[in-house]
């Protein structure tokens, strides 16, 4: 696993990304989802997470969770269609895990994919780096 730095933002090369700043780590027929280091830095201190219910069927692009920070509230979108297989219950008590470890302990939910071919639409680390560079004028 390699770490790439774009300005002050960290991007990992072992996963895929979305335009809405989620990361997706594929493991077999499941996908672990969280928000990127860029997203958590923009949101600043996170004070609450509303998690989806497990077993809920979701469509790619559907808002399924939301994050509340001192700055704003923002939606987390399902990057892929499928069933919510697991959620990170620890975030209910310790939402700051997303700030502290966005790519690890701050994971949000796991989807069991129903349309694995949708992953072709996700951004590669290189594409996501370009997106961040453009937004930040780097």
């Amino acid at each position: 696993m390699g770490e790439i730095r774009v300005g002050k933002y960290v991007i990992l090369d072992d996963r895929l990304y979305t335009e809405t700043d989620e990361w997706v780590k594929l493991e077999g027929n499941t996908a672990i989802v969280g928000v990127t280091d860029y997203a958590q830095k923009k949101l600043r201190d996170i004070v609450g997470v509303q998690l989806p219910e497990t077993n809920r069927e979701v469509q790619a692009g559907e808002a399924v969770a939301s994050i509340e920070s001192v700055k704003a509230a923002s939606d987390i979108y399902a990057p892929l269609s499928g069933r919510i297989f697991k959620v990170n219950d620890e975030l209910a008590l310790s939402p700051e895990l997303i700030n502290q470890d966005p790519y690890g302990k701050g994971w949000i939910f796991v989807i069991e994919m129903s349309k694995p071919e949708e992953k072709e639409r996700l951004l590669t680390p290189d594409k996501y780096i370009q997106t961040i560079k453009q937004r930040e004028g780097l």
Binding site: K41, R44, D45, V47, G48, V49, V70, A73, P95, N99
Partner: protein
């Protein structure tokens, strides 16, 4: 263009995340506002407040009295006035500020960052007082905390007193005052940028934690202190804000309107809000407060209090609905939450 604190470089070295506030790039947090907030409430922390407008006003104290809700004449040299305000003739806030009496004809004021230029031109327009902007000449630091004197030496100063051109922690400072805006004890310091940088290094050595403006915001909300443009503005009076910082025994701009409002009563009043433990949704500025379908007020500020471990805030309710202690509903982006109308301070 954005202004930048002269301490940016050293603050970056000690882990500050920068963000915009009132046109300034300032440290928002140093990793975790919870840790910083709890440091203020249990030990000590320091803030960079260099964004705050700092003005030197010179002239006849009676002229200054006429512009301000508490005046300056009755304060002695080296005494601070506490928070007070400039009002418009409707009694609305031009700004709330802190005053310092330096000498017979020389006063210092600390304005909200967002009002610095407005205040300068308002004073000039309404008086013959001279105004010099010292904001860019000095850095302002606040060292605050429940156990602050365990980390820094306690100066020989009573609360709301100040001294000038003294040595503090081995560094020459322009102004040292026993004051703050946190509800805890501490000092505030004005120093030129290089001395301020030396002071920051010293504070780090002493184990005083740096804190950012997010903590400043959560701390002041616990105390029920207002923030200009969020909780007060030119259309709100100190009576509606329940911000008792005005004299009634003399005349000044806005005093007539205040007296009239005290006679006639007000339509709305500021109130504190507390959500239940475990609630994670924040009602934001401008969102409604409801009893059933009836909107009775609006939220003006909110945050998550790390000290109470719950969502808190403040807002205004119609004075017919000033039901302290009652739980009602606040609108959030994703549905209503229950909040209890509470008096200040919230801790």
């Amino acid at each position: 263009m954005r202004f930048e604190t002269p301490l940016r470089r050293i603050e970056e070295q000690i882990g500050a995340n920068f963000g915009e506030f009132a046109g300034w790039e300032m440290p928002m947090s140093y990793g975790s506002y919870r840790v910083e907030h709890l440091a203020v409430r249990t030990s000590a922390a320091f803030f960079d407040l260099s964004h705050m407008g700092r003005l030197k006003v010179e002239g006849d104290p009676r002229e200054f009295d006429y512009l301000t809700t508490k005046g300056i004449s009755r304060f002695k040299e080296n005494e601070m006035t506490g928070p007070q305000a400039f009002l418009n003739d409707r009694g609305g806030f031009i700004d709330d500020f802190m005053g310092y009496r330096v000498s017979e004809r020389e006063f210092l004021i600390v304005t909200n960052a967002i009002n610095r230029e407005k205040v300068i031109s308002w004073i000039r327009r309404n008086s013959s007082l001279s105004v010099e902007d010292l904001t860019f000449k000095y850095v302002m630091l606040a060292i605050q905390g429940r156990e602050v004197w365990k980390s820094v030496p306690k100066p020989e100063l009573d609360p709301l007193r100040f001294v000038m051109n003294v040595n503090f922690l081995g560094v020459n400072v322009f102004l040292l005052s026993r004051s703050g805006w946190t509800g805890e004890d501490g000092v505030e310091i004005w120093a030129d940028p290089s001395n301020a940088e030396a002071l920051v290094k010293k504070l780090i050595e002493l184990g005083v934690r740096p804190a950012g403006l997010i903590t400043r915001d959560s701390i002041r909300q616990e105390m029920g202190f207002v923030l200009y443009d969020e909780d007060i503005d030119e259309n709100v009076t100190p009576i509606e804000a329940r911000y008792w910082i005005f004299d009634l025994d003399r005349d000044y701009i806005g005093s007539g309107a205040l007296k009239e409002q005290l006679r006639a009563g007000v339509k709305r009043l500021r109130v504190g809000l507390k959500a239940k433990k475990g609630e994670t949704k924040l009602p934001r500025h401008g969102q409604g407060l409801y009893v059933g379908d009836t909107k009775i007020g609006e939220v003006t500020s909110s945050t998550h209090s790390p000290y109470l471990n719950r969502v808190i805030g403040m807002g205004y309710v119609s004075s017919d609905h000033f039901f302290l202690g009652m739980s009602l509903e606040a609108e959030t982006r994703t549905g209503r939450i229950t909040v209890k109308l509470s008096d200040f301070p919230l801790i």
